[in-house]
Amino acid sequence: MAFNPLFLTNLLPRIEWTALRDAAAELGLATLPETKPEITLHRQQSRRQQQQPPSSESEMEETDETTPPLLPMDTTSSNTILDPKDEQVLRDLHRLLLETQVVEGKMVCGNCGFEYRIKEGIANFLLPSHLV
């Protein structure tokens, strides 16, 4: 799966940051910043112009017509201007969230200590009948 900064940025609001940060550290995978970063992507100049309805012929010519405009929902394009620090965080997230799978392991409940097993990549949240 290709690195996609826009997709990852749109994913950020969903992430329970502390939990992910702890899990990544426990697995020795990545050191994420302490707090969830606020990342804004900037479209390249030519694209921004292309997004607005062209007011004249000359403006049309200035835009790069070989690639489609970058729409908020269009995650296919990765042609965005990104702060290098933000890019590192997004690359770490890409590796963690999209390229890493727990195949065998367990999740331990922070409250009661119950262990939820992951086997062959499938997490089991079913409680044994005596605990239901």
Binding site: N4, L6, F7, N10, L11, P13, R14, E16, P72, M73, D74, T75, T76, L98, Y116, R117, K119, E120, G121, I122, A123, N124, F125, L126, L127, P128, S129, H130, V132
Partner: protein, 249 residues
């Protein structure tokens, strides 16, 4: 009409795609639902689709493989939830094969082995799809846990399969025990923009359910709505299966 995802070599323990599954597929491919969902899900955060009782995975596979067409965007996350572990494995293959076949960029997370919404964070689901066990039965069967189930190691393969299969259709009293449990959790699990499509059968007291939902407490200036968006199998004037859309408006 989008092609129904195929289910080669479906094990006996998993509910095969049937009239109810097709009705849901039909509803989700309806242009009216497509524009409704596209409009509701257009704001930045990637939408999360959860298919409860994923079974063979045909519904989740269709939605994810055609996310761009059906939901208006391709950066969609898909999660399956099934109480039957066999279905967790099988649906994974169905979804991944279909996404690959159709070159979809949607992200399939996994199918977790769980009962309804246990283990999920509240207010996360943007599109919830539920084809519940709706057949009225004396009881709802118990889940089969790998470590400590009452049936572990005692059932022959055939009994094991029929027990797992029975989880997919046995709805308890009025066929509503499992659906009611889900409905209770719905306000807590749906995001503010979230929409649920729940399949019911005529024996499930549809009108009563709608009335109940409309009376749920308001939140953030929105009221609950529930509407039958699809029905099928008219028998002697009675609609046998219906699909209820539930959302805040």
């Amino acid at each position: 009409m989008l092609p129904t995802p195929e289910t080669p070599g479906l094990p006996d323990s998993i509910y095969p795609p049937s009239e109810d599954s097709y009705l849901l597929l039909d509803a989700l491919s309806d242009p009216i639902q497509i524009s409704f969902l596209t409009e509701r899900l257009k704001n930045t955060t990637c939408p999360l689709v959860a298919d409860l009782g994923t079974g063979s995975g045909v519904i989740l596979a269709l939605v994810l493989a055609h996310a761009k067409l059906l939901l208006g965007r391709s950066d969609v996350l898909g999660l399956g939830v099934d109480i039957n572990r066999d279905a967790c494995f099988y649906s994974r293959n169905t979804v991944l094969a279909n996404c690959k076949e159709h070159g979809s960029q949607a992200t399939y997370l996994t199918t977790i082995n769980s009962s309804l919404l246990a283990g999920l964070r509240p207010r996360q689901i943007d599109l919830l799809i539920f084809n519940p066990p709706y057949v009225p039965t004396p009881d709802v069967p118990t889940a089969m846990t790998p470590e400590a189930g009452p049936f572990q190691g005692k059932l022959a393969a055939h009994d094991r399969d029929s027990h797992l299969l029975s989880l997919s259709y046995s709805g308890g009293k009025d066929g509503l025990e499992v659906t009611n449990k889900l409905l209770e959790d719905l306000p807590n699990c749906l995001s503010q923009r979230g929409i649920a499509y729940v399949l019911l059968c005529k024996a499930n007291k549809v009108e009563e359910i709608i009335k109940r939902i409309l009376a749920w407490p308001k939140s953030e200036d929105t009221e609950w709505k529930a509407e039958v968006v699809r029905s099928s199998g008219k028998q002697a004037g009675w609609e046998r299966l219906v699909i209820l859309r539930i959302w805040r408006s």
